[in-house]
Subunit: 390 residues, 2 copies
């Protein structure tokens, strides 16, 4: 008799975004005709840049001609793209072989699937607050969870594990808090991992939002990291590929067996990322693509500055939003996350994301997102400035 | 200390295609300048049809304009595509709700990932010979394996399990044997599954190669199947999407908990198929797309007929190749799969796929593939006709 994987029963509900939608709907039913402004969504909103559009079109065109048509590619990705990424890292003084770079259909799949190459029952450290995928995927995979608290005291950079753990999931720049590890803070984790033979899973999907050149954009900028860290990356937030789907994961050969095991996992259970998307990825990494996507990131970061300034002008305490597209705001007057969510909705008609949806330590905060059209963000911050009654 | 998932050590090597490449290379080194003809590869070779190219181009164009740009879509897929697939099944008198259809990045991922929603230690039946993904993914997932033999006696349609099993992986039309289940044979499996509360994972990726209208193209053509079967499908072989990456999996609500658990798996561990590929999928399902892709399938099936006829004219026994793009050929004179592979390579300069690479029961057979340009296939069969010394 077929039975379900019982680990699914240990998962909490995915109620955050559905609860947001429900409360917004109820508000709109009571107040018909009101325009709602969204600062809650971690999804890109601007069109793909011209260089990338050309790359994707070329990708489609190749498939339309029998002379340039390609079917299955390597499961690990187009070698040209892997080589180009290797060169891209070289400019950051990070040395990686193409065989250490595995192209994927995005960071979420890899962040979720990576656990499967490690032993059942491994002890996994995740931060609190946390991007839910790390937590849920590890519960499904039968791992034991340890939480690393991130709070105002440590500026939302999580503490180093106090107990022995096998795996550590960290994300910098962080979703949801917008916190970014300094090189020294990251070194603390690398030292811990080397000492305890742990593996760090480092999610760098928001690396391109870092403008402060002192902050590491790859964990491999820290010495020794190739011996203890896997890095997950994505074109989603750096080039608007949230819908196109393309990312990559680095499993260094220095990590020993894991490079070969991840290769076996991907060749067995994945059939490569879309060849059209991979052509788009190459266009992102071209000179013109890098310039244009950098400008798009500046556009979003201008939104971030405007949101952060607005909240601070009202006397609210904020975190992040400087090298990350998320602004983490402390709820005023001891309000809970949901209370402040309701208040922003009622007073200002602005939708936010309650921090408590990301874990216990997120209670008392909300996340505001810089992803949005400028005019909508402007409307939202003006409404907050004018209407928020503290 | 981080340790690997020990199940990986239980896997056999993936030596089939690398061994084929190695032997071909050695032959070419000894015989420089000789032209090798390939009948070994299960990969599409013809350009995408015009209607689909237009659909994909439109998909890219939408992303180039802020008014039509979309980022993350539903993890389960574009609702319009799910509805269109539901309508497509309706024409085959199969009734499925859009909520029962989950769009994916292709059949291989889903065939590999589906095991994770079932209990560890589940007993899984796979056929022998077998498409390696079913076997390997279940070993990695810690399942117990039972083999269902497929041989000349049962015309390569596998036997019904003799013991109690929880899951059954079947594929029709079959890769590698080209065998296709009759409705009655499929009913035997459905009856077994209903009686034993097993779940059948039915891979129908080659369904569009069935021209005999009496043969089922979906397991749901068999009464009761929605209560015991998951169907995995793909645009790869029906529309040349092997590189574009798009498929779908049906988990009927009649299956109970599994629909919700697969939904949870996909929303947690997957971020949707590429929105460009999904526009392409809609184009495949359009009237013009259906007509053009059907013509492309006829092209490949003309190759199949030519290969099958050539082998039979030489007195060889063949299976499949009538409603499937694979021709399964019995090796002459008691030769092993690899011996016959070597003979075809040396006598005729043709590369085939040794059946023994798909399991013990595949020993003594080779697989020939109908995927190829007509002129190359013609050259290959002419060389076989002229040069094969039996």
């Amino acid at each position: 008799m077929a039975s379900i994987n019982k680990n699914y029963q240990k998962l909490g509900g995915i109620y955050l975004f559905s609860e947001i939608a429900k409360r917004t709907k109820v508000f709109l039913e009571k107040n018909p005709g009101i325009e709602i402004m969204k600062l809650g969504i971690g999804n890109t909103t601007e069109a793909l840049v011209p260089a990338v559009v050309i790359g994707l079109m070329e990708g489609v065109k190749k498939l339309s001609d029998v002379k340039t048509y390609t079917g299955y590619g390597d499961e690990q990705g187009n070698l040209n793209l892997r080589q180009t990424l290797s060169d891209w890292y070289k400019k950051r003084e990070v040395s990686l072989l193409p065989e250490e770079i595995f192209i994927s259909d995005g960071a979420k799949s890899d962040a979720a699937n990576i656990s499967s190459i490690f032993e059942d029952g491994s002890v996994v450290a995740v931060t609190d607050p946390v991007y839910p995928v790390y937590l849920d995927a590890n519960i499904i995979a039968g791992k034991k969870i340890v939480f690393l608290g991130a709070n105002e005291k440590n500026n939302f950079v999580p503490e180093i594990p106090k107990v022995k753990v096998d795996l550590i999931f960290i994300c910098s720049p962080n979703n949801p808090t917008g916190a970014v590890f300094s090189k020294n803070q990251l070194k603390g984790f690398v030292d811990y991992a080397l000492k305890n033979k742990s593996v760090i899973i480092f999610d760098a999907a928001y690396s391109e939002y870092i403008s402060n050149q002192d902050l590491p954009r790859s964990i491999y900028e820290v010495e020794g990291a190739t011996k203890c860290a896997i890095e997950i990356q994505s074109f989603s937030k750096s080039a608007g590929f949230t819908g196109v789907r393309l990312g990559w994961t680095i499993v260094p050969k220095d990590l020993g067996l894991f490079n070969g095991i991840w290769n076996r996992r991907q060749t067995t259970m994945f059939n490569g990322a879309s060849n059209i998307a991979q052509e788009g990825g190459l266009a992102v990494l071209s000179k013109e693509g890098q310039k244009q996507t950098k400008d798009q990131i500046s556009y979003y970061m201008e939104n971030a500055r405007s949101i952060k300034k607005t909240m601070e002008n009202l006397g609210l305490k904020t975190f992040g939003g400087e090298n990350a597209p998320y602004i983490w705001v402390k709820c005023p007057n001891g309000l809970s996350s949901w209370d402040f969510f309701d208040k922003l909705l009622k007073d200002c008609h602005v939708v936010s994301t309650p921090g408590s949806g990301f874990g216990k330590m997120g209670e008392g905060y909300i996340r505001l997102s810089a992803f949005g059209h400028r005019e909508n963000v402007n409307k939202a911050v003006e409404s907050i400035s004018r209407n928020l009654k503290l």
